[in-house]
Amino acid sequence: MTAAYRFQVNGEPVELPVPGMRRLLDALREDLGLTGTKEGCGEGECGACSVLVNGEVVDSCLVPVCQLEGADVRTVEGLGDPEHLSPLQQAFLETGGAQCGICTPGMLMAAGAYLDAGGAAVDADIREAIAGNLCRCTGYTKIIEAIALATERRPVQRP
């Protein structure tokens, strides 16, 4: 018997009648057609499949859908579209933070969580925030620049 799992993806409710051990990565890519989330290693090392589950960055290749009942899942498709990039996406575009682009969706999710948590333009903190996301093109230099730029463009929040 296969149960149907109910959770939200980018704010939309989904109901998936799939085996409980199906990887969230496969559910996103194959059942929901959200191919922005990438597979780089399938064992939680590269972070290309990073998504947010209830605000936390997770590797979707390591998360079975049976753990997601009622969860709020966010993917790169929820950030913006080409005509309306989010400030973070825009910062990546301007600084050259995306080269081949395959790590980019996961990198954006990790960086977005850092911004949401109020992270500042501090080099060491940004490096820590994206340490689970491998990039082979950029040396991380322009990714860090992009995230710093996005923190500075963020409206100042007052307590």
Binding site: G33, T35, G36, T37, K38, E39, G40, C41, G42, E43, E45, C46, A48, T75, V76, E77, L79, G80, D81, P82, E83, L85, Q89, F92, L93, E94, T95, G96, A98, Q99, C100, G101, I102, C103, T104, L108, A120, A121, V122, D123, R127, I130, A131, N133, L134, C135, R136, C137, T138, G139, Y140, T141, K142, I144, E145, A148, L149, E152, R153, V156
Partner: protein, 743 residues
């Protein structure tokens, strides 16, 4: 909001919102918005309804006689397709320099993870089960793993000038060393992926991740016995290559195509990370023996160099990797007496192939180690020694090439020395080393290196390639650039419209790129050898000049004002520009004399690092890399190449290592093959130097490989500065450093 130090520094102007569609004076990455929103389609993202899943059955021995492929009679094979060598309709070979590598083993297995059979099934579960029910019947044969003991030679080269033996005998000081570098995995984050779709004409259309669509096209035609139009190759968005998607995609495309033809449906061959690391090409391991003679007053008198590269089980690109290696082995230094001998040997390990730098990082690691050791022996500053020795315009290389123009060794050196404050920091680390107490827990060091990198194909390679790039003014008034040069992250799809728009005097957004599809675009050659911006970029500019002249002649008005009218009146105009040999550049492939490259790029790097004296762990803190690229078409992307190449080289120098056991890669997963994370990455300062090359209209020389050549020897020099020990083998791992530091 309080910003704590240290904050991330931006280049001037980056912190303000730029004018729409540009940053630092250059257009934004053309496909950037698609990549940033998840809409860009990589091969595995494509959906083909009814597609089957393909897999490769591979050898588990390094050398064996194949007696048969055995199918478990207890399994229902009716829903599975199985193919072996005898099912190949054309020639069972993956086209390359030699025709030695079969697409599927015929009778002799020559390396671990060699493709022996192919299977396809309608679903992954059946495929997985079927894979377990296939066995290979083999008899083991004796393997060879050490290239020094190997007897089969793929290639040998020798270059030289002067009288090396006499000059070495007369030298006051002779520096000798043997240097070893190991395999390195390209580790693009997108694994290899190919989808083959049967065509109505009996042919195959390939959708895949690749650097060289026409290499795949040639290989498909030959193995499947197809004509030009029956084989169609489409490059999809490609998630990195670094040389790793130069050759092996031809193998995978043949496999997918064979299965698709048999099944009569699309077949997906998507590698997982384990298969990608276990089976596909790596950087060639090399052993370099080096003798350098210098006079007491610091003149470079002679260099005698022997290079042995491990080609693995099949030839692939080993001859050209070796060739580039030996041509760079003496470094960017004036020296009358030079002898470089090299050989590439066959071993029973998976074939090695292209990786950013292509033989030059291996030999220049040895060369720069020697220069740094010579500086130590002479008690000279490594910067001063290089100032004295490095090439200037008019100097002659060991192949007899006169460096007529575009020589920037001195300039990159000075820029890197200045930006890093090399001499000041070196004095500090030296004092610290001399005053260091016995129980010190850490040490800091600084080191440098200087390299050259031949731009474009070696020797007469570009002449043989005879690449073609096109530009088209459509009857609908649209302008398109047509090339088979691929976007793999480096910026092809942005810089070509940029060059075309500049030449035609139209906005960037008005120039489109044709899809990289062999049924549409001409063969502009492979996307390798740092040749895309320089060689193909030059062809694009040339084609645009001719298109512009034709239109202006017809309309009597500037192109930008009149091309729309011209298209409406006269219909489409297509101009193809074919490569013409650079004037005055001549190379003799037989004697290896002459102009080995039309010009060279130059790079200097300074590395600062800390060594933990208890664990010998190395933390690379900063790298300043000054790279002469001729002309930076797109400064952000050119810097991106320097920064990315620098970090790959830091990985090569410190942590990246493949362990072998009985010819098998032991650490063939991302959990065990380590590459640098953001926490391992140093602060990288990329300095672009522009010494244009007159042979191309835009002056660009290429940037992809330069940074990869220069960093590793600078890292090892900095480890020496910190600890006083020289590490002769890469990576300079904690184990090797500890062993060297033992009293």
């Amino acid at each position: 909001m309080t910003i704590e130090a240290p904050v991330v520094a931006h280049p001037p102007g980056a912190a303000t919102v730029p004018s729409i569609g540009r940053a630092r004076g250059a257009p934004l990455r053309r496909e950037g918005p698609a990549k940033l929103t998840g809409l860009a389609k990589y091969t595995d993202d494509l959906v083909f309804p009814g597609a089957w899943y393909g897999a490769t059955i591979r050898s588990t021995e390094p050398h064996a006689r194949l007696l048969g492929v055995e199918l478990d009679p207890g399994f229902d094979w009716s829903r599975v397709v199985v193919l072996t060598a005898k099912d190949i309709p054309g020639v069972n070979v993956v086209s390359s320099i030699q025709e030695d590598q079969p697409a599927l083993v015929i009778d002799e297995i020559r390396h671990h993870a060699e493709p022996v059979a192919l299977i396809a099934a309608p679903d992954r579960g059946t495929l997985r089960e079927a894979r377990r029910r296939i066995a290979l019947n083999t008899t083991p044969l004796p393997p060879v793993f050490d290239p020094l003991e190997a007897t089969q030679v793929f290639a040998t080269y020798e270059i030289g000038s002067g009288d090396v033996d006499a000059a070495l005998a007369a030298a006051d000081v002779v520096i000798e060393g043997e240097y070893r570098v190991g395999h390195q995995e390209q580790l693009y984050i997108e694994n290899n992926a190919m989808i083959a779709v049967p065509r109505g004409d009996g042919g195959i259309t390939i959708h895949g991740s690749m650097q060289c669509p026409y290499y795949v096209h040639t290989a498909l035609k030959r193995a499947l016995d197809l004509d030009d139009s029956q084989a169609v190759v489409i490059q999809e968005e490609t998630g990195g290559g670094f040389g790793g998607k130069e050759e092996y995609p031809s193998m995978i495309a043949i496999h997918a195509a064979l299965l698709a033809q048999r099944v009569g449906r699309p077949v997906r061959m998507i590698y997982d990370r384990h298969e990608d690391i276990a089976a596909t090409t790596k950087r060639h391991p090399a052993i370099v023996r080096h003798r350098m003679g210098v006079s007491r007053d610091g003149r470079l008198l002679a260099q005698d160099i022997e290079v042995v590269m491990d080609g693995g089980a099949y030839c692939t690109l080993s001859p050209v990797v070796l060739s580039r290696g030996i041509l760079h082995a003496a470094g960017p230094y004036r020296c009358e007496n030079v002898r470089v001998r090299g050989r590439a040997m066959a071993t029973n390990t998976p074939p090695n192939g292209a990786f950013r730098g292509f033989g030059a990082p291996q030999t220049q690691f040895a060369a720069e180690m020697q220069v740094n050791r010579a500086a130590e022996a002479l008690d000279a500053s490594p910067a001063d020694l290089r100032r004295r020795w490095s090439y200037r315009e008019g100097d002659v290389t060991p192949t007899g090439q006169v460096l007529r123009e575009s020589v920037a060794a001195e300039e990159v050196l000075e820029r890197a020395v200045e930006a890093s404050e090399f001499e000041r920091v070196r004095a500090v680390t030296r004092r610290a080393r001399e005053a260091r107490p016995r129980d010190a827990r850490s040490a800091s060091g600084i080191g440098m290196a200087l390299v050259w990198h031949g731009a474009g194909f070696t020797g007469s390679g570009e002449v043989h390639l005879a690449s073609v790039a096109g530009v088209e003014l459509g009857s609908d008034g649209r302008i398109r650039v047509l090339v088979a040069s691929t976007e793999i992250g480096q910026g092809t799809r942005t810089i070509f419209p940029q060059l075309a728009a500049e030449e035609l005097g139209v906005p960037f957004d008005d120039v489109e790129m044709a899809p990289v599809d062999t049924s549409i675009v001409p063969n502009s050659g492979p996307t390798v050898a740092s040749r895309t911006a320089m060689v193909v970029g030059g062809l694009v500019v040339g084609a645009c000049r001719r298109l512009k002249a034709q239109v202006e002649e017809r309309t009597g008005r500037p192109f930008a004002e009149s091309y729309g009218d011209d298209a409406r009146t006269n219909g489409a105009t297509r101009v193809d520009q074919r490569f013409e040999p650079f004037p005055g550049v001549n190379f003799d492939d037989k004697t290896y004399r002459g102009d080995a490259y039309p010009c060279f790029g130059w790079a200097a790097a300074v590395v600062e690092l800390d060594v933990d004296l208890d664990t010998a762990e190395v933390t690379v803190r900063s790298v300043v890399s000054a790279d002469d690229v001729g002309k930076a078409i797109h400064p952000i992307m050119a810097e991106g190449q320097v920064e990315g190449g620098t970090l790959q080289a830091v990985g090569y120098a410190t942590i990246e290592e493949i362990k072998l056991e009985n010819g098998r890669y032991l650490n063939d997963r991302l959990a065990t093959y380590m590459i640098p994370t953001s926490l391992d990455a140093p602060r990288i300062t990329a300095i672009l130097v522009e010494k244009p090359f007159s042979g191309v209209p835009h002056g660009a020389k290429g940037v992809g490989e330069l940074p990869m050549d220069v960093v590793a020897p600078a890292v090892v020099a900095a480890i020496h500065d910190a600890t006083g020990v020289w590490i002769h083998e890469l990576p300079a791992s904690p184990e090797r450093i500890l062993a060297a530091m033992k009293p």
